[in-house]
Structures are given as C-alpha cells and as structure tokens.
Amino acid sequence: MTTQALQVHDRLCLEREHFQHLFASLQARGFQVVGPTLREHAIVYDTLTSVDDLPVGYTDEQDGGSYRLKKRRDRALFGYNVGPHSWKQFLHPPLTRLWQAERKDGGFQIIPERQQPEKLALFGVRSCELHAIAIQDRVFTHAHYKDPIYASRRENVCIIAVNCGQAGGTCFCVSMQTGPEATGGFDLALTEVLDEARHFFVIEVGTDLGATILQDVPCRAASEDDLRLAGAVVANAAAQMGRSMDTSDIKGLLYRNLDHPRWENVASRCLTCGNCTMVCPTCFCTTVEDTTDLAGTQAERWRRWDSCFTMDFSYIAGGSIRASSKSRYRQWMTHKLASWIDQFGTSGCVGCGRCITWCPVGIDITEEVRAIRKSESAQGREG
C-alpha cells in the first residue's frame, strides 16, 4: 500500500499475486469490470468477476481470414492481442431503444428514453483501442450532434489500459501511430512483465481516478529496473509488427483513385458480408427500426448497428446508390482512410488489424492501399 498520494504520471509496480486487488478496488467503487475472456474459441470482451476470468496463458494467432487460440507456455494474463469484439459495444450499444410512443387522444405521445448507464471499468484496453475510443468520442460528442447515449456511457466508464507485449498477426499500429504504447486516454495503464524470475506489472497513473483506484492496491513505486523491463516489453511488440500502412497523402491518394481498377479486383473477392464493419472499433453507422405491437397502440424506435456493405444502406426511391460490391467496398475503405479525415480531423483507422483477421477471404486493407499507391507511382499521377 502506498502511503503518499499518487499523482498522474506516477509509475508503480504491482506483483502478480496482488493483481486481484485491482479487481476488488474497481468493484468496491461500483464499477462492473468488463474485459477479455475466453468464449467459443475466441477472446471476447465480457463481464469479469476476477483475475481467473482472464484468458490466462492464452495467445492468439491471427492472419488474413484466420484466428486461432493457442496455449502459451507461461501464465501471462495479457499474452494475446485483440479479438472480434471491440469496446464500442459498451459505449455505442449494438441495439438500443431511442423512444417509445403511445396512441393517445386520437394522436400519439412520445416517451423519451432515460439514459441510465452502468459504471463500467474497461479492463485491458490496448493502445489502438484507446485511439479508437478517442475517434468515436469525436464522432459522437464533438461533431454536429452530441449523442446522449454515447455521452452518458462514456462519462461512466473507467479505462484500464494494457500495453501490448507482442504484435498481433495482423496489427499495424506503429505505422498508424496508435501504439503499441498507450500514451493517454486511460485512468491506469499496465505493462505485464513475465520472465523466469518474476511476474509483475508496471502501472502508470493516467488520471486522479486512476490514482484513487490504486490506493487500495498493494503496489510500490516502480524501480529503474522495473521500468527498463517494461520498456523492453513494449519495444518488443513494436519490433514485431508484421504489417504497415503508408499513410502519406493517403487522403489525396484515395480521392484521386476512385476509378482505379484495383476496386474491381477487390470486388471480385469481397463478399460484402460486413464483418469488417462489425469488428472495426471505429465503424459507427447505425439504422433505426420502427416497431409496433399487434394492437397498434404502442410503438418503439430502436437503433442498431448497420453496415455500409448492405444493399439497403444507400437505398433511395428508385434503387440503391451503391448497388455494386465494388462501390460498397470503395465507400468503406475511402471513408475509413480518407473522408474520415475531412469529417473528423483524423484517420478512422487505428491499425488493429481486425478487418484483416475477420474477413472470410482475407482482404487486407494495407495491401489494397499499397496496390493503389504502387500503380500510381509506376504510371505517374492519375488524372
């Protein structure tokens, strides 16, 4: 137990045997902890009650269109990367009611929905995911309209970040400048150090809330040695990056090449299944569904996640604007990497690699950009 008050940027050391205290401290403060856990052969994000719910000793092997869990030789708590879930399901719920309506006096009355979000502790947030949350913060709270559903959930969330110790098979956060080290947007950030001799965590305090949480957790100031070992862990992850995306003038590149033959090439592979949009931590598109009961006296409007890959997405009287799979893939990729910059000031991509892993045919967004860029420089500027 530290005796002096903790400050933002302080770095502490927590031994593995005391890790459960972190859970206890969060739970004691009314946070429901959600984080990585094993389910149906994948590591997903769900409710955690204790350390034992973490995928201890597991790692994932990812590649285009492929995800497998493997047992590690050690008992690392965070020895894997990101799975099919992202944290957006907690902040931007997949299905939520917007309002109810009741028939009344020949007309109807709207009953607005009151937001009553739970206090959640997002436990094990990777650096790319911190950036994704910041990106969605901009979309939902700093743009034209502030979404009360997102805003109320966001206010009630505490973020425990984890620095990656290895690069995932499809990761490219280094080239997107979103990791592997968490540099902000967290209440606490953990780096797991595990070797033959020791198993401990270096914890960086990110906010006053983070400092408060650590008060009940037995940790001491991190030593030079602790910090050196933690630094090596992160450096190791950075060095392992298997993929990269060259983002120089990417907006111009994609805007110039809306008619590039590469889009036809992708279209011949893309199934428009929409997996990429479901697993992408920044995709935010939704649709609404208006329902009514059988008697026709009660109606509801629900909002649910949608994907620009559906035929309905761009439908107006007469037909869909984006009927071909080519146009829908182009829309997704150009929005993610180019238009997003005009709309929200940053890229929409954080280099987490999920879209590559979960694409059934292994379409690789970094490869698509590379192909367009390469052919452009080979032929000279396209008109």
Binding site: Y315, I316, A317, G318
Partner: protein, 158 residues
C-alpha cells in the same frame, strides 16, 4: 437585305464567320413569317432551306399511324431549324409545324451548299457550326430518351 445583316452577324450560329462570307450569307437570306398551325416543311419534301427562328414556336413532329402526330421537340426563339439541306438525299425527315405565329430568317440552303463545295474554307466553317447544333440536339434528345423523371415505385423501399 440590309436589315438582316446585323441580325445574322449577331446570331451565335454565325459568330466568327468572316465578313466576306457574311455578305454572301446575307445575300442568301430573307425574312419569312408563318401563321400558327402551318407547316414550314413536311417529311419527305425536298430540303433546300434552313431557318433561324426569330420569334415563335415550331414543333418537330413525326406521324405515327394510330397516334397521329407526335411532337419530338420544339424549336423556339433563336434556334436553328433544319440541317437536311446539307446532306443527301436533301429531304426533310420530320414535319415542322408552327404552334404559334413564327417569324424566321430563311437561308437558301442550296446556295450555301454549293458555295461550300466550291470554297472548302467556307464549307468547313458552315459544317462545323451545323455539327455543333446537331451535337447539342443529340445530347438533349438523349436526355429526353432517358426518361429521367420517371421513378419506379417499390414495395420494399422507404
């Protein structure tokens, strides 16, 4: 006719024509007037004149047996009417019927055509301008054919 010279010279169709050619053109020009509901020319008739509409409205029509005459397009103030005088078999392909009283300048197409054969510079300038009219008409006709205002209704759409 002296009074027609400035009118012709200022018309967009003749813009850029050298003054010496404009003299010849003016020499081939005359003022004409058609009452409402009359035929300026009919399909199949020999085509030897072209018209610059000064004021009025002319319907280009085709006769479809059971449906009577169908208007394809209207030619109005400032428009050029007719180019069949320039190409064999030098016959009109449609009817041109006035909807309103129409005043126009009629130009002797045979005269202009023969001048064009003799003086290719003049011929090129003439054909270039006629080609532009044809291109614009074709573009407009294509848009008309696309039926752009027709939106099919569907069961599933909103």
């Amino acid at each position: 006719m002296q009074s027609l010279a400035p009118i012709l010279a200022n018309h967009p169709f003749f813009k850029g024509f050298e003054p010496r050619y404009m003299q010849l053109i003016t020499g081939c020009a005359s003022n004409v007037r058609f009452p409402a509901g009359s035929y300026i020319f009919r399909e199949g008739e020999p085509a030897s004149t072209f018209y610059i509409i000064r004021r009025g409205k002319v319907a280009l029509e085709a006769v479809a047996a059971q449906q009577g005459s169908r208007v394809i397009q209207t030619i109005e103030d400032g428009d050029v009417l007719g180019w069949s005088w320039l190409f064999p078999p030098y016959r009109w392909h449609f009817n041109a019927r006035t909807i309103e009283e129409t005043r126009a300048i009629a130009l002797d197409g045979v005269c202009l055509r023969e001048k064009g054969e003799a003086d290719h510079d003049f011929g090129y300038e003439l054909v270039k301008r006629v080609a532009l009219i044809m291109m614009e008409r074709l573009q407009a006709t294509r848009l008309q054919a696309l039926d752009i205002y027709n939106v099919p209704s569907t069961e599933a759409g909103v």
